[in-house]
């Protein structure tokens, strides 16, 4: 686990990888449900699918914010290369969380399969 400490540069890509996995999950999940068992159009945005997608998005965003906070804390304890990696990683986690919230916002108001 030492290698996965927040000062390790692998964290430069973990946040954005999680964003990517979230993006693929919500897009493919939406597409499969809309192809196999689409909710009724009159249900609007209040469907189980929206709730599920919203839940996954919320969990992902909260997790990413927590990772960003962790990176910030670790960055304060180091200097030089390790501080650089932890700081940039923390910003990338935060951006990834913002990306989840921003791209996931339409889940609140747009009917899923129209």
């Amino acid at each position: 686990m030492v290698r996965l400490h927040f000062t390790h540069p692998i964290h430069l890509i973990i946040g954005l990888t999680l964003w990517s996995l979230w993006f693929v999950a919500v897009y493919s999940g939406l597409s499969v449900v809309c192809a196999v068992a689409p909710p009724l159009p009159e249900a609007g945005a209040l469907t189980g699918l929206n709730v599920a997608l919203g839940g996954v998005s919320l969990i992902t965003a909260v997790g990413l914010v927590a990772l960003a906070w962790g990176g910030c804390q670790v960055a304060k304890q180091h200097q030089g290369r390790q501080r650089f990696h932890a700081t940039v990683s923390a910003w990338l986690y935060l951006f990834s969380a913002f990306g989840v919230v921003f791209a996931g916002m339409p889940i609140i108001s747009v009917p899923p399969c129209l």
């Binding site: 954005l16 990306g99 996931g104």
Partner: protein, 841 residues
């Protein structure tokens, strides 16, 4: 930065230069085809790229001539379609990417203090694949049989029914051939940047250009395979009738769009990132201060690298995708403006806080900033679904695309070429001619494409060969066409300036722009080995912090200033800290890359002409050439039979367990994995979405036989892992027998999977289900067969003494392939054999 080699000081530096030249120097005459040196091959890439640029430019002029006036018959509709398709194809695949890769191939080793790229023969193979593929593709123009379905080759327009001649085949086979080059360069650039930086150059001290190229190379590795898969499938459909993109058989033409744009949108950023890297390199030099916010730029690069893969559907807003899905992609498309804006503000802040000198390269950088920001803004407009619907398929999109690509790639490229010209030639360009070239290009470009936004908003569709008088588009088209010729005059002037400077340019002094990065520590033009000695670098600005560095490096006062062993050597360093771990020894000049590329070219032409037997024979020949090439590695007499190093120096990489070949294999497997995941995406996509997809009542593949095949490959993988573990502990007892045992298990897997395929009695030309299944099994059989051959070769190398406890490296590389095979085979069993039984059709 004080690792001065006292022993070397006592050497005669001139003698050292001569010795290094003997080892690294380029041969002349016919043998120059064997050159593997990155400096020469980088230049070849760029010169070839410029030739294709001229071809693409002439095609653009033909298009503008045709559209200058309404109701013109300068070209027939079919020829017009060929010309526009080839313009886009040539510019994207034969100019933009190879040109930027060529620049990266040329610069990266010099910037990171290395003597070459880590896989020099791969550089050479990549170049020849690019050259031959480009020639094959452009030859279609001469015989008036060029592809005509647009550079994105949408099905069914590119399918046999609507494109029965060979045009689409030229595109599919030619581009796939060229993509071998792109992926090869991607793999070795990644490994070179991570593993061959000079002593002390930790990740956070790396030049920003290297960060950009690292991201670009990784994006190529991940982004190109979906298009390679799409091209293979479409060519199979056209050649033998496997209906991947036909509704009637269970396919779906939209699958092509997904596969194409999964590649196509990241492609824009693959082109933009190195260009932005040029800008981030030049601005601090001409502002005379370090860049503001190095970390912010690194973060922006990472964000672009990822987010750009989440935008592909914004090219498909009109195909009938649910609104919520469109909203996801619309938001992601806006999101990518954030890292772009970060970089723009960083550049502006650096200029603001520095004392910018408006030399010729900076003029092009300023042109870039203006044009690219405009292109970015229209990009945000196009990310909005309702606006996108309105202007879809109009000249507005053409204008936006050219603002992004010409502004985002061509202007920085010319800035970079002017900046590094003294390095290429030792001479300075002409400021006067260069400024004329810039202003003509800048004004001509905006005259052509700014106006085109209006033409598009007025409703003029793209890809139509003419328009009627009275449509209201006449004056705009005429202005665009006239301006396009001004643009051409500007580019001609730039090319003239570059050509003339080789003869008439003033000799450049050392480091003429007062740059901070290591490439300017080279002689001008550079020697084949770049540096006599490799320095320790602990700062982001080595030449600013120690201006005398070029001199001490040339005197041999730093690391690896030795040539008596006769090997091509450079440091292998830790990917994070830059600490030296081993000495990487590189292969010398070789015919194998040229021969392999030539054999592959025959395969390409044979497939094009449908002479499949010849294609099969030459595919085998190409394989033999490639394997023969791989034989000359490690402890082979032509590589490094003597493991001796100077006292205190680290060991040769082939005598460790972690050489660059391991990293190259890992990165190649990422590309391979991207191909495989694209395949799985296609399988599940068609299964879920295609209206006529039919799952057979009885699953055709035997679960028992496929399970046994999976067991065999797993057992082979375990044997390989065990013997690699032994090698790590310097134990090689029974190594040869273990390798042959693993190979036998691999052969059993191939035999069983082949038997399962035989029993399945598939009808791949009748149903898409069977066609997709066949492709998956052929993929597994090919990889299984490859693992068997490589493992047998390893066993033979143990016999020759090239592999063993003293040279333990190579089995670890082969073990990675085995791991990959185990994982992908079981995923295939799950997707093709188990899931259909569990959830049915």
């Amino acid at each position: 930065m004080k690792s001065v080699n006292q022993e070397a000081i006592e050497h005669d530096p001139q003698q050292l230069h001569e010795d290094l030249h003997t080892i690294w120097g380029n041969p002349k005459g016919l043998r120059s085809l064997t050159i593997v040196n990155h400096t020469t091959l980088g230049l070849r890439f760029m010169v070839t790229g410029m030739v294709f640029f001229l071809i693409g430019g002439i095609l653009a002029m033909l298009v503008r001539t045709q559209l200058a006036m309404p109701d013109q018959n300068f070209m027939s509709p079919d020829i017009y379609n060929q010309v526009t398709t080839m313009h886009g194809t040539v510019m994207m695949f034969l100019f933009a990417i190879p040109m930027l890769e060529g620049l990266a191939i040329y610069l990266i080793p010099k910037m990171i203090g290395a003597r070459d790229l880590v896989c020099p023969r791969l550089t050479s193979l990549g170049y020849f694949c690019y050259l031959f593929g480009g020639i094959i593709l452009t030859s279609s123009l001469i015989i008036e049989m060029a592809p005509s379905s647009g550079w994105f080759m949408y099905t069914p327009l590119s399918s046999k029914e609507f494109a029965p001649d060979l045009g689409s085949d030229f595109w599919l086979l030619g581009i796939t051939f060229v993509e071998i080059s792109a992926v090869s360069a991607g793999v070795e650039l990644v490994v070179s940047i991570l593993r061959t930086r000079t002593q002390g150059m930790a990740l956070h001290k790396m030049p920003l250009f290297a960060w950009y190229i690292l991201a670009m190379a990784l994006m190529i590795v991940v982004g190109f395979p979906p298009l390679i898969l799409g091209s293979v499938l479409l060519e199979l459909e056209r050649a033998v009738g496997m209906p991947f993109f036909q509704i009637a058989g269970g396919g779906d033409p939209i699958l092509w769009q997904h596969l194409f744009w999964l590649f196509g949108h990241p492609e824009v950023y693959i082109i933009f990132l190195p260009a932005a890297g040029i800008v981030s390199t030049l601005i601090p030099v001409f502002a005379g201060r370090p860049i503001v916010g190095y970390g912010w730029v690194v973060a922006a690069i990472a964000i672009m690298g990822f987010i750009s893969f989440g935008l592909w559907v914004h090219h498909m807003f009109t195909v009938g995708i649910p609104q919520l899905a469109q909203a996801f992609f619309s938001a992601a498309s806006m999101l990518v403006a954030v890292p772009t804006a970060i970089q723009v503000f960083v550049w502006l802040a650096t200029l603001w806080l520095g004392k910018p000198k408006m030399k010729l390269p900076m003029l092009w950088v300023m042109g870039f900033l203006i044009i690219f920001v405009c292109g970015g803004l229209t990009g945000v407009m196009l990310a909005l679904v309702p606006f996108n619907w309105q202007v879809h398929d109009t000249h507005f999109v053409v204008a936006h695309m050219h603002y992004v690509l010409v502004g985002g790639m061509f202007f920085p490229l010319i800035a970079g070429l002017y900046y590094w010209l003294p390095l290429f030639s030792g001479r300075m360009p002409s400021e006067n001619l260069g400024r004329w070239g810039f202003w003509l290009t800048f004004l001509g470009f905006n005259g052509t494409f700014l106006i085109m936004h209006w033409t598009g908003l007025l409703g003029m569709p793209r890809r139509v060969y003419t328009y009627e008088a009275g449509s209201g588009w006449e004056v705009y088209n005429l202005l665009s066409s006239v301006s396009s010729f001004v643009l051409s005059a500007g580019i001609a002037m730039v090319l003239l300036d570059i050509a003339l400077h080789f003869r008439f340019g003033k000799p450049a002094k050392q480091n003429p722009w007062n740059a901070d990065t290591l490439e300017w520590a080279n002689s001008m033009p550079p020697s084949a080995y770049n540096f006599v000695s490799l320095p320790s670098v602990e700062t982001r600005h080595p030449l600013w912090d120690e201006p005398n560095l070029p001199h001490t490096m040339a005197k041999g006062m730093h690391g690896l200033a030795v040539a008596s062993h006769g090997r091509r050597e450079m440091w292998g360093s830790d990917p994070i800290t830059g600490k030296v771990r081993e000495i990487i020894h590189l292969p010398g000049n070789s015919w194998w890359p040229l021969l392999a590329a030539a054999a592959l070219a025959v395969v390409c032409i044979s497939l094009l002409t449908r002479v499949y037997a010849l294609a099969g024979i030459f595919a085998v020949i190409a394989g033999v050439f490639l394997l023969r090439w791989s034989w000359e590695n490690g402890a082979h007499p032509n590589a490094a039979p003597d493991a001796g190093v100077k006292p205190g120096d680290p060991p040769l990489h082939s005598r460790t367990m972690d050489g660059p070949g391991l990293w190259a294999m890992a990165v190649f497997l990422i590309a391979n994995g991207s191909f495989f995941l694209s395949y799985l995406f296609g399988w599940f996509y068609l299964w879920t979405v295609s209206p006529e997809w039919q799952m057979p009542d009885t699953p055709p593949l035997s679960l028992l036989i496929m399970g046994m095949a999976g067991g065999a490959v797993l057992a082979g993988g375990v044997v390989i892992e065990k013997l690699v573990r032994g090698l790590r502990q310097q134990r090689d007892a029974g190594l040869r027998a273990s390798l042959y045992l693993a190979a036998a298990l691999g052969a059993l897997q191939v035999g069983l999977a082949g038997w399962a395929l035989w029993r399945a009695d598939l009808s791949p030309t009748q149903t898409t289900h069977d066609a997709v299944m066949l492709v998956g099994l052929v993929y597994a059989l090919f990889h299984g067969g490859l693992a068997v051959i490589l493992t047998v070769l390893q066993g033979m190398r143990v016999g020759y003494g090239y592999v063993g406890a003293q040279a333990p490296f190579e089995p670890a590389v082969v073990a990675l392939l085995w791991r990959y095979n185990v994982a992908t085979f079981w995923l295939l069993v799950g997707a093709l054999v188990i899931l259909p039984r569990v959830i049915g059709g």
